[in-house]
């Protein structure tokens, strides 16, 4: 019943199972190679930023450097600290790695979405299938589920090491990831309000073709969600996503100058390599998700319509590279946040901002559904804004009063 529901899985089950297995294998191999190249890309670009040469020995342009490092890590001695909880210590790297792999399953990486019948279905050995490992009805909720599971890897790694710095690092990591997941989820909810579906495949179909006319010129803007959703959720998603990745400037989790290496201080050899792999894999997945949610996934710009599934793959990677370059750029530019700045930024800026934008989008959506006139829009908007400002003013006043009272109390008590 479950498997018969998806029309793509009707027919001979053996062929479909083989195709599904092939897709899993390709996604797995792709992620491993992509991580290798991503690490090389990071090191080369950051070298350019810092006027260095960077890796240049292994292979042409040093492109095999990550492969050499990986092989070296495999053959290093694997140390398990005596104080550690062995079971959790060995389990933790896998709890980081497996969710990183699984999230990628919902990303559509290619397919032809152009034209009226462009539904991204491609034919492999006579079987119709999608260029994504799975298209579950819960779609992007799968991403939230997996990223909440990934916290366990970091948390357990820090706790089970039986040492102080890893524990501090893992407490920081869990606090940070839980905090920024809220902003990330709210930015995601804004997209869902516009898309009306959770499925990544349906979202990508919805974003194909041409968008609204710009300055009277048709066929120039793409139908990407970035336009109807707005720039705020996009930026919040990038910032909160960077924080979820524990990527600079949010890398307090492994701040070398303060806590050695953070949660993976005690890890060596292949277990360390697994954490490293998961970290870079998450960067790729986060970028792929950003591209899917805001930038149309495999859809190219509206004015450029060549045929074939490969063009979707091409656009997808162009956009993904853009995000990865942005990450390196940020890493090379910004210094690390202080811990209180990190928490203030997340809770006092990102969450209210994305929540406010979400309410605004919901307001517009309701207005469209109810077919309000412009006067109604403006009137209700001004009225609601007035109520909101009045409430915000009262809250600010209450907080200020409470603070003044506290200060007075302290002064009374301590003369």
């Amino acid at each position: 019943m479950m498997f018969a529901q998806d029309p793509l899985y009707a027919g001979d089950w053996l062929g479909d199972a083989l195709i599904a297995g092939l897709k899993v294998l390709v996604a797995f191999a792709f992620l491993l190679v992509a991580v290798m190249l991503n690490i090389w890309f990071l090191r080369k670009v950051i070298s350019d930023f810092q006027n260095r040469i960077g890796p240049n020995t292994a292979g042409r342009w040093g492109i095999l450097q990550s492969l050499a490092d990986g092989i070296k890590l495999f053959f290093k001695e694997d140390l398990i600290p005596e104080n550690s909880d062995r079971f959790a210590f060995k389990l933790a790297p896998y709890l980081s790695l497996v969710p990183a792999f699984l999230v990628f399953a919902i990303i559509p990486i290619g397919g032809d979405f152009n034209g009226d019948d462009g539904d991204g279905v491609v034919s492999i050995f006579g079987h119709d299938t999608l260029l994504q490992v799975a298209d579950p009805p819960v779609g992007v909720l799968w991403f939230l589920a997996m990223s909440s599971l990934a916290i366990y890897g970091v948390m357990l790694a820090g706790w089970s090491s039986g040492s102080k710095y890893p524990l501090i690092g893992s407490v920081r990591a869990s606090a940070q990831m839980v905090s920024y997941e809220a902003a990330l989820g709210l930015a995601l909810a804004s997209v869902l309000l516009v898309s009306g579906t959770l499925s990544t495949h349906a979202m990508v179909i919805d974003q194909s073709g041409e968008g609204p006319a710009f300055l009277g010129i048709e066929n120039i803007l793409p139908a990407w969600y970035l336009l109807p959703v707005g720039i705020v959720p996009f930026v919040v998603f990038i910032i909160a996503g960077t924080a979820e990745l524990n990527h600079p400037p949010f890398d307090l989790v492994e701040a070398e100058q303060e806590i050695v290496g953070g949660f993976h201080t005690e890890y060596s050899s292949i277990r360390f390599a697994l954490f490293f792999l998961a970290e870079f894999m998450n960067q790729i997945t986060m970028g792929a998700l950003l591209v899917t949610l805001f930038l149309g996934g495999p859809n190219g710009p509206a004015f450029f319509f060549p045929e074939g599934w490969w063009i979707g793959v091409f656009w997808f990677f162009v956009k993904l590279m853009g995000f990865l370059f942005l990450l390196v750029w940020v890493r090379a530019t910004l210094p690390r946040f202080r811990y209180d700045q990190l928490m203030d930024f997340g809770w006092k800026l990102l969450i209210p901002l994305s929540l406010g934008w979400f309410i605004l989008l919901a307001f517009i959506q309701v207005g469209r559904d109810e077919a309000w006139s412009t006067a109604q829009f403006v009137g209700l908007g001004v009225g609601l804004a007035a109520v909101f400002l009045a409430l915000a003013g009262m809250l600010t006043l209450a907080i200020r009063n409470a603070r003044n009272e506290r200060i007075e109390e302290m002064e009374d008590a301590h003369g």
Binding site: A88, L141, S148, L149, W159
Partner: protein, 211 residues
């Protein structure tokens, strides 16, 4: 057939996890087995085409609630293997056996007697049939925001009250007392050298300025 096989594996994961929760001597290991059980339940939900419930099961239970469990366990420092010979509450073990047995009996009776009524599949109400053309997410959304809108809002209010209540209860001291709590003597953390000797740097209580 596929459903049966998946159910079989899911059930094995759930039971193994549940036994692990009880048997594990370390509280953190118990929490890990609990996650295994929750993930197994999510698998069963997927087999039943309740995709949304499966996702929520992972996001809320495995992703948030057990994380809080782990925080409490780690911060309270009860993460060492415990001596199970000592009973904290007298007569707790026989009582647990009786309660567990009655719970099991209730569950078995429920499954045997109320199979059709429990799932709603056999009830004949077309709204509750599985194949009515809309996804479970839409169905849950509609019911939640129409039929159960008031209950939904009240639950949200209850959770907010709970959070505020927790903050108020833990901040019941007056601010002046809090200031005293923060005096250096109370933030003195013990530390041990690698060989186990006391390596603590002594921190003198800083005399507060009289003014």
């Amino acid at each position: 057939m596929a459903e049966f096989i998946t159910f079989f594996f899911g059930a094995a994961i759930i039971l193994a996890g549940a036994i692990g929760v009880v048997v594990a001597r370390n509280a953190v290991h118990s929490a890990l087995f609990l996650i295994q059980t929750l993930l197994g339940v999510a698998v069963i939900f997927v087999v039943q085409e309740a995709h949304f419930l499966a996702a929520v099961q992972i996001v809320v239970y495995a992703g948030a609630i057990v994380i809080v469990f782990l925080f409490v366990i780690m911060l309270l420092g009860v993460d060492k293997a415990e001596d199970l010979g000592v009973e904290p509450i007298a007569g707790q073990k026989p009582l647990a056996v009786v309660l567990g047995a009655s719970l099991l009996a209730t569950a078995i009776t429920f499954v045997l007697v109320a199979t059709d009524g429990a799932t709603g599949v056999g009830s004949g109400d077309p709204e509750r049939q599985l194949d009515s053309g809309i996804t479970d997410i839409e169905r849950i959304g509609r019911v939640l925001f129409t039929e159960y809108a008031v209950a939904f809002q009240l639950t949200a209010a209850l959770l907010t009250i709970g959070v505020i209540g927790a903050v108020v209860l833990t901040r019941s001291q007056s601010s002046a007392d809090q200031l005293d709590d923060l005096a250096p003597a109370s933030v003195d953390l013990p530390s041990l050298a690698p060989e186990g000797a006391n390596d603590e740097h002594h921190v003198d209580t800083v005399e507060e300025d009289a003014s």
